[in-house]
């Protein structure tokens, strides 16, 4: 023991002498190395020029110079502090920690605000406990310190709340994969603000790469002018991103804002000399129209940056920093979310509404995204329980239109830095965001988030021997877990509309009805050139879909999507038939009570379409036929199909259609769409049931015109 004590003392002395001390850039420290001192001072002077530049500091260039000085003398507290500040103002913000920490260890009084910055760099590195410790110390000391930055003192309480949120949310991180979208999309330049259609097959994003239209560099924020690029799903990967070109992209800043769920309309941000406005472009085939400024109610003299269409296209949500009182006078406020409603008579956006205070916090909101389920609304906010900067939140709109209190989407999607420009596929399985990460290609990149949901529980097997009198080993019944699907409760319907004879794409109008109420929910159009269409059908409704084109019989589809349904994607190409003798169509929205022939009220809109068709074509004579599936008694099925066809005929006669234009027939299961053999070959009960459903139908056929 006696030998150990002197050894420890000696070690202490040696280690103390090795400890770093604050080394000034002067002759005292560079007695033997004047050349290096000279060079270091040159770097410092150059760095300070950028660091203290007016009206805006140029931290990027300051950083380059300061790093030169740092190579010569890494132990100067002020230089470390300035490097920390520079890093804090670049994309490499987390690196600021090393410099602030060193500055603090070299000189605890290097700045009156060093504890704030040290805390901030801890926060950026998700070290919540140390961040809280230093923020608290700064708050205590800074309040009585004239040299402390009053603005920083004032925001420290907010920072403390952010760290508390981080500490809470960190305990229950969400299960995700976060993957870079790859080098077909991302480059060394910034990519951000990705938007996509509902099925995620096409994406558009903003980039400031050197292929920008006109190739100009914007000196004011040290980057190429923004342009919009697009890419398509190419199997499992993305095609190489292409510049969308004119007329959307110009020599100025052109940035993505939103894409309608069907991908037929795009909202674009145009700088308008700093005013910042939202423009709309319409797609025809693969071409986009010249963006047109949206109505004045949206494009105010203030800054509008983000927007998104509601699922039915009847609302437009947007972000503006206009005064909250709606006066359009005075200084801008913080960024808030508003919406306007489409007035179909005046053909313009109207009725401005600011979202309630439970959504619009006293801090900035931005980056809106309305999920195709029509009720989940994502946005970014610096308020609420953000863990720092903008965080992504979601809120759900109830049937009365009230928004629930926002929920932080969680870590690790949200970080202490800005998390914004979030979009999600209709299924809720994949999200996309802009992020700056170590594995990126440089600057901001686009990332795909795969939401894995709650941990999936394994299924085990046990056996039991319940009866003593028998040697029966039986597999114990296992209760399979109920899957709670809190995202993606909707169906996506997409396809192409064709002329049945020519098989050429066709422009058609698509009406979406709520069969229970008969309400026309929304109207869509197929693409004028390629006939493509895409609809999202939020769960909770029995949808009737009517496809109409001039000179053609209407085509109907029915999708009953109950609440809590799993996400389902339907691909349905529609072949429109001309009004010609011999043509027939299935009336998919005619419903009967089970095993009865009384028409259900949900059939009304389909019957009205049929009546209109008969009235529009007074010479039309048709046969209405009933069909059943092959299950059950043949005789009963026959009787049922005859009676059901008669019920439709009676309805039409009661509506004024002459009976001599109508014939009825019941074919039971004699004319199936899917044969029993085909059904038998199907693998799942769900498929089989769908096939039987397809066979149970009411058809009409043109007998004369």
């Amino acid at each position: 023991m006696k030998k150990i004590i002197p050894f420890l003392l000696m070690m202490f002395v040696v280690l103390s002498s090795l400890a770093q001390t604050d080394t000034p850039f002067d002759k005292t420290a560079f007695k033997e190395d004047k050349e290096n001192l000279k060079e270091a001072l040159k770097y410092l002077k150059e760095g300070d020029k950028y660091f203290y530049a007016l009206p805006f500091a140029d931290y990027k260039n300051a950083l380059t110079s300061y790093e030169g000085a740092y190579k010569i003398n890494p132990n100067n507290s002020t230089l470390n502090f300035k490097l920390g500040i520079c890093y804090l103002n670049t994309n490499f913000r987390t690196r600021s920690f090393d410099y602030f920490n060193k500055a603090y260890s070299l000189d605890k009084t290097v700045s009156a605000d060093i504890k704030y910055y040290l805390a901030q760099s801890y926060q950026l590195n998700s070290n919540w406990d140390d961040a809280i410790k230093f923020y608290k110390q700064y708050l205590t000391e800074g309040r009585g310190n004239k040299n402390a930055n009053a603005d920083l003192v004032n925001v420290t309480d907010k920072r403390l709340k952010e760290c508390e949120s981080g500490r809470t949310l960190e305990k229950k991180p969400i299960r995700v994969f976060i993957d870079n979208l790859g080098n077909n999309i991302n480059t060394e330049y910034p990519e951000y603000s990705m938007i996509m259609n509902a099925d995620g097959s096409e994406i558009y994003f903003t980039s400031r790469r050197n292929t920008t239209t006109g190739g100009s560099f914007d000196e004011s924020n040290s980057g190429y002018f923004e342009d919009i690029y697009f890419a398509q799903k190419d199997g499992k990967s993305w095609s190489s991103a292409q510049n969308v070109g004119a007329p959307i992209n110009t020599k100025g800043h052109d940035a993505t804002v939103a894409l309608s769920p069907d991908g037929q309309k795009m909202l674009v941000y145009i700088d308008d000399n700093g005013d910042g406005n939202i423009y709309e472009s319409i797609r025809t085939g693969d071409a986009w129209s010249k963006p047109k400024k949206t109505d004045k109610i949206i494009c105010s003299p203030y800054h509008e940056s983000s927007a998104w269409y509601s699922n039915d296209g009847k609302r437009l949500y947007f972000v503006s920093n206009r005064p909250k009182d709606g006066s359009m006078k005075g200084a801008p406020g913080d960024r808030d979310i508003y919406y306007v409603t489409w007035d179909s008579e005046k053909l313009k956006w109207d009725n401005l509404v600011r979202l309630p205070d439970n959504i619009n916090s006293s801090y900035d909101e931005d980056g809106i995204f309305v999920h195709p389920d029509g009720k989940t609304f994502y946005f970014s906010s610096k308020g609420h329980n953000s863990v720092g900067g903008y965080d992504i939140f979601y809120t759900r709109m109830d049937e009365k239109g009230n928004f629930s209190d926002p929920i932080n989407i969680g870590l690790p999607v949200n970080t202490p830095d800005d998390d914004i420009f979030f979009t999600m596929t209709a299924s809720g399985r994949f999200g996309y965001m802009t992020s700056f990460r170590k594995d990126g290609f440089g600057e901001k990149d686009l990332y795909k988030i795969t939401f894995l949901g709650e941990p999936k529980q394994p299924l085990l097997n046990a056996e039991e021997m319940l009866l003593a009198g028998m040697d029966i080993i039986k597999q114990e019944k296992t209760i399979e877990p109920i899957i709670k699907n809190d995202r993606g409760e909707l169906a996506l319907l997409k396809g192409t509309i064709y002329d049945d004879k020519t098989k050429l794409p066709l422009f058609a109008k698509i009406e979406l009805y709520d069969n229970d109420t008969g309400e026309l929910l929304a109207e869509f159009e197929s693409d004028k050139v390629n006939g493509r269409y895409m609809l999202t059908l939020p769960a909770g409704k029995n949808y009737g879909i009517a496809v109409k084109a001039d000179g053609y019989l209407f085509h109907s589809e029915n999708f009953d999507i109950p609440k809590g349904s799993d996400y389902t994607e339907y691909k349905k190409d529609v072949y429109m038939k001309k009004i010609e003798v011999g043509e027939s169509i299935v009336l998919k929205n005619i419903f009967f009570d089970l095993n009865k022939y009384s028409l259900r009220p949900e059939s009304k809109s389909e019957l009205e379409r049929l009546i209109k068709l008969m009235n529009d074509n007074p010479n039309l004579k048709i046969e209405l036929s009933g069909h059943t599936d092959s299950r059950g008694s043949v005789a009963l099925n026959k009787e049922l199909s005859i009676n059901r066809a008669k019920a439709v005929v009676d309805y039409l006669v009661n509506a004024g259609i002459s009976r001599d234009r109508l014939q009825s027939a019941g074919y039971a299961s004699e004319r199936p769409i899917v044969t029993d053999a085909q059904i038998a070959a199907m693998k799942t009960t769900k498929e089989k049931e769908a096939a039987h459903q397809e066979n149970r139908r009411t058809e009409f056929k043109i007998l004369a015109k």
């Binding site: 994969f177 099925d199 995620g200 097959s201 799903k233 499992k236 596929t425 299924s427 809720g428 399985r429 994949f430 795969t450 894995l452 949901g453 999936k456 394994p458 299924l459 085990l460 097997n461 046990a462 056996e463 039991e464 021997m465 319940l466 009866l467 003593a468 009198g469 028998m470 040697d471 080993i473 114990e476 296992t478 399979e480 877990p481 899957i483 699907n485 993606g488 799993d566 996400y567 389902t568 994607e569 693998k683 799942t684 769900k686």
Partner: protein, 363 residues
């Protein structure tokens, strides 16, 4: 020489504790003997009958039929010979002839409940449980003190999922013989199937109190506790079952399951390993071991164990389902989807939701 006639009795159980189909020889009672003697049966008939019994015991049923037929040919009023011939036909799966002989017995002796019982056994063995129940009802009408009739009917009702009716018969047995451990066990099982788990536990405990070495009752008790999420009690019960029979692989598998549910994943794996040692072709153990690895987030190990399970049983839906979970977490979503799709095809409904919600058609 003293004449001794024997009757062949075929039944699921002829005495408490015997299970499965049995062949037994019943020595006729003094009263039965006196009745036969009083009938002055010819010695040739008696000899043929006894030879028939010997052939039956040697499982030479064709010969037995021939001998019993010979006995009947000599002495027509011989219900025992009809009964035994009927049982010989039953052994040869000649149901029609067996039934004919049993009907003959009842016609000759309306108090013969055994013929009904044997007929019921044929129905039971052919899974015609309702017919078995109906015929057993007739046997009970004739003789309402015979435990095996009630028990057989309870089994048939149980298998038809008429658990409440089964409990009624089991209660009657308990009334006749309060120490009949099987009745308590099976009553517990009926309650378990009715999801009346507290009553099931009570019955299983009574079964164990009647027979301390009742392995099956311990196992059923453990399963019930596990369903009640009383994992410690479940583990204790399975341990007791294993203590009675060290090679009881079902007990180890069940205990492993309970340990997993209780968060003891290492302990669960140890039990599943024991099962695999005892029964290397037991696919369930591999699947369950995979489940433990999934809980431990050891995805590669989980895949490996599922692979073993699938190799043993290529139609094992749960193993595909579980392998899908592990593969998803290995970032092999496409392969996970393939597994879930296969699981759906094999009837695992939950996999259908995973498949849909994982956007398996749209990577």
């Amino acid at each position: 020489m003293k004449k001794i006639l024997t009757l062949v009795c075929v039944s699921f159980f002829t005495f408490y504790g015997l299970k499965a189909q049995n062949t037994d020889v019943k020595v006729l009672s003094e009263k039965e003997l006196q009745e036969i003697k009083a009938q002055q049966m010819p010695a040739e008939a008696e000899a043929a009958y006894n030879e028939g019994v010997s052939s039956f015991m040697e499982k030479d049923y064709q010969q037995a039929i021939s001998k019993f037929s010979a006995a009947i040919g000599i002495y027509a009023d011989f219900p025992q010979a009809y009964l035994n011939r009927g049982m010989s036909y039953a052994a040869l799966k000649d149901r029609e002839k067996a039934f004919k002989d049993f009907s003959m017995v009842v016609e000759m002796d309306s108090t013969n409940s055994q013929a009904y019982f044997e007929k019921a056994i044929i129905y039971f063995n052919e899974a015609e449980y309702q017919n078995a129940i109906d015929v057993l009802g007739k046997a009970i009408e004739v003789n309402d003190t015979e435990i095996k009739y009630y028990y057989q009917r309870a089994l048939a009702n149980f298998l038809l999922e008429n658990y409440k009716e089964a409990i009624v018969d089991l209660d009657r047995i308990i009334k006749i013989d309060p120490d009949f451990a099987y009745a308590y066990n099976d009553k517990g099982s009926a309650y378990k199937e009715l999801n009346e788990l507290d009553k099931a536990v009570e019955s299983y405990k009574l079964a164990i109190s009647k027979d301390k070495k009742f392995r099956m009752a311990y196992n059923n008790l453990g399963t019930t506790y596990r369903n009640q999420k009383k994992y410690t009690l479940a583990i204790d019960a399975f341990t007791n079952a294993i203590a009675i029979d060290n090679d009881f692989y079902i007990g180890y598998n069940n205990r492993g399951y309970a340990k997993l549910e209780n968060g003891d994943f290492e302990g669960a794996i140890a039990d599943f390993d024991k099962v695999i040692k005892l029964k290397p072709d037991y696919a369930y153990a591999f699947n369950n071991k995979a489940s433990a690895y999934i809980k431990m987030e050891k995805w590669e190990e989980a895949v490996k164990q599922c692979d073993f399970a699938i190799k043993l049983n290529p139609d094992y839906g749960y193993a595909f389902y579980n392998r899908g979970i592990a593969k998803e977490m290995l970032h092999q979503e496409e392969k996970a989807c393939e597994d879930w799709l296969r699981a759906v095809e094999l009837g695992v409904e939950t996999a259908s939701s995973y498949y849909a919600n994982s956007e398996c058609n749209n990577f």
